[in-house]
């Protein structure tokens, strides 16, 4: 290896040998990725098309190719497997719908608060908010189990206010159903009683997260907000104080500054947080596993847990792998969709002036600073003229510092 490398170095300007040397150097990494990632994924893909029952190797001669049977069993063939999959998707969908926005908002608010220079004991709060993230989920679930038992602390507090709390982790009723029941609607209207996608009725699809799942949603927000707070905090600290100052000079109040300057500048961070949040909440497993998975009338089962249960308990490994792959494709599609929604829009269309285009794209988030400041004061030509002046001054001020940093 060294021979090749030093040989090519001796070759001076002739760089032909470098490609080979490069490959040689990345070989360990490629081998590790291959053995621990690529091969297992390919093997799982094969399993999802086979009738392997978990005995001996999935490549032994007794294992047959069954085409799309495993996928059909959970998607198109009417039956319990299909319904269980449908319900798992339903459960997880509501989980995602609540967890992702809420945890992002909470994380952002926490980050903004602990980023404020005036806050006393910032270090303490940063640590405190981050603490749940470094604690094992399993430990937190166990603590939550005690807090949320029928006679637990949460219900004791609710009882203090005269509210009769539910039996949290065991309550299978959907929260939307409960709200409807409060106004007297307890059974499905005829239009919703019919079977919807995946053998689950529309009425069940629209039930909302069950009370049990809601406790898990609270738990997820509690545990993950700290992690994402840290990401937002890093993003916020990348925004120089001069930007805030510029916005203030332009007459934007704190709320306007936040929504029109800070938030747009955090877009790359926001994308990261939303993507990680989305992937994480579609793969939720630990909490469900600790709680037993099929308690609360099957309303906390998620596809990830169902894949595990189908494989290990029912020994239907092909079907379990099929669930995992559907989940995989689903997450990829959602991430692409989200990427598209959060894409850098054509500046002209947004009426933000052509400055960004002039600056040549989005590679460095810090390059947007003046841009975002211009967004603060909107598209009014007069404003923009004003801004150009502010920009020029700011650029002049920040120039040397920027240069030394980048």
């Amino acid at each position: 290896m060294t021979g090749t490398a030093s040989g090519s170095r001796r070759g001076g300007g002739i760089r032909r040998g470098e490609a080979r040397a490069g490959w040689l150097f990345v070989t360990p990494a490629v081998a590790i990725v291959g053995v621990f990632l690529a091969i297992p994924i390919l093997l799982a893909l094969w399993v999802s098309f086979s009738d392997w029952n978990g005995f001996r190797s999935p490549l032994n001669p007794n294992v047959n190719f069954v085409g799309l049977d495993n996928y059909a069993a959970i998607t198109t063939d009417t039956g319990l497997d299909q319904r269980n999959f449908g319900r798992a998707v339903r459960n997880n969908l509501w989980y995602v719908v609540f967890v992702v926005p809420l945890q992002t908002i909470v994380a952002l608010l926490l980050a903004v608060q602990v980023n404020r220079a005036v806050l006393r004991g910032r270090g303490f709060f940063r640590t405190a908010f981050y603490f749940p993230s470094v604690t094992s989920t399993v430990a937190i679930v166990v603590v939550f189990q005690f807090l949320f038992t029928a006679s637990g602390a949460v219900n004791a507090v609710l009882g203090f206010f005269g509210i009769n709390g539910p039996n949290w982790f065991n309550d299978p009723s959907g929260v939307f159903h409960n709200i409807l029941a409060a106004v007297g609607v307890t059974s499905a209207p005829a239009a919703l009683a019919e079977s919807g996608p995946l053998g689950v009725t529309w009425w069940e699809w629209l039930a909302g997260p069950s009370v049990a799942m809601s406790s898990l949603i609270i738990l997820a927000i509690f545990t993950t907000s700290g992690t994402f707070m840290l990401l937002f905090l890093a993003g916020l600290q990348n925004i120089g104080a001069e930007v805030d100052e510029a916005a203030r000079m332009d007459g934007a109040g704190p709320v306007r500054t936040f929504f029109s300057v800070t938030l747009p500048m955090l877009r790359p961070t926001l994308f990261t947080v939303l993507t990680l949040g989305l992937i994480g909440s579609w793969q939720v497993f630990d909490q469900i596993y600790v709680l037993g998975g099929s308690t609360a009338g099957g309303t906390i089962t998620t596809p990830a847990f169902l894949a595990y249960q189908t494989s290990f308990d029912d020994l239907k490994w092909g079907q379990g792998a099929a669930i995992a792959f559907i989940l995989f494709v689903f997450i990829i599609l959602l991430t692409l969709f989200q990427r598209w929604v959060l894409r850098e829009r054509d500046p002209k269309g947004m009426g933000r002036g052509g400055r960004r285009a002039g600056r040549g794209g989005a590679a460095d988030p810090r390059r947007h600073e003046p841009d975002a400041a211009s967004a603060a004061v909107g598209a009014d030509p007069a404003d923009r003229a004003l801004l150009t002046g502010a920009d020029a001054r700011e650029d002049g001020d920040a120039g040397p510092r920027d240069g030394s940093r980048s």
């Binding site: 029952n53 978990g54 029928a150 065991n170 308990d313 029912d314």
Partner: protein, 398 residues
Amino acid sequence: MATGLVITLAACSPGGNDGGETSGQDLSILIGSSGQAETDAVTQAAEAWAEETGNTVEVIAANDLVQQLGQGFSGNNPPDLFYMPWDQFQTYAGQGFLEPYADDLANADEFLPALREQFTYDDQFYCAPKDFSTLALQIDTAAWEAAGLTDADVPTDWDGLAQVAAQLTTDDTTGLVLGREYARIGVFMGQAGGGVGDADEVTADSPENAEALEYLQGLVEAGNLAYPQDVEAGWAGEAFGLGRGAMTIEGPWINGAMANDYPDREFISVELPEGPGGPSTFAFSNCWGIPAESDTRDAAIDLVEYFTSDEQQLAFAEAFGVIPSTESGSSAYAEQFPENAAFVAGVEYAQSPVAFAGAATAVTEFNASLETQGLADPAAVLGPFQENLQAAADKANG
């Protein structure tokens, strides 16, 4: 030990190298332990055997038995001997994971018939039952006396049960607290003369089963039967220990649970009352599984014989409270622990809970429907149960 010797000698015949050695083997034993007492007892027994026979053993207490078994088999490295839970047995046997060795055991004929049946698949007795549990009726003696009831009032039929449940119900205590799941409610189906059948014939929506659910629903409506969720308890034993239920229906594990968590609760266990269809209860058991075509087959069989001998089973019973799986062992146990005689008596008429491959999913679904819909309309929960079980049975029968 004579039988062990015979096997040892037989194994020494030439060409006997296909799992035939009974000494010099390394055995790994995977157990789903109830606690340190069980792990220690099994480890001690296994080591005593190993020393006697010149093998080495390693006992591993699983965190999650089924998961670790599945992992072992799929990695082509299953343990040489393991606890095989009753609810997974038919799935494993049907997939060809298990060695059908039990008829080769010297004590094959001594196991209780109900247990033998539980571990028979395709007319082959696969694996030796390790021990067993049945369900019995637990009565809180303090509540019983407070209600002015005597020994003569111990219920023997459904009417009697309904009556004492009503008498035991007070403002703070429900007469009977029962887990809302197939594994408890199913005994009433059996007592009504029904049951959900097996893979050959599924009878979940029979009129007898509907009668059982109606009987229980009657108790619920009278306020004399509650489910643990309704009285803010995790399971029926907790409700019983907290005094929120004066009676419950659980297995011998209730003794350990009460001793640990509610040592002041005094209670007795009696046989379940008979229904219109006669007496019935459920028997739950694990067996000693050996993987198919195991290299250490004969040594493992020898160890199973050692583990399932009456002497050893009684030692286990003393150490961690299980009931021996053989006729003579269980009767010796009933004499030694008269407070648990009801559990032993139950095995005479016990049914096996439905356990064919795929049934577990249908049972989970049934339990969920009991939770969401209750028992008020038996047809609404039994109909889908029948449908799902039938679908699983069709699949299991190929």
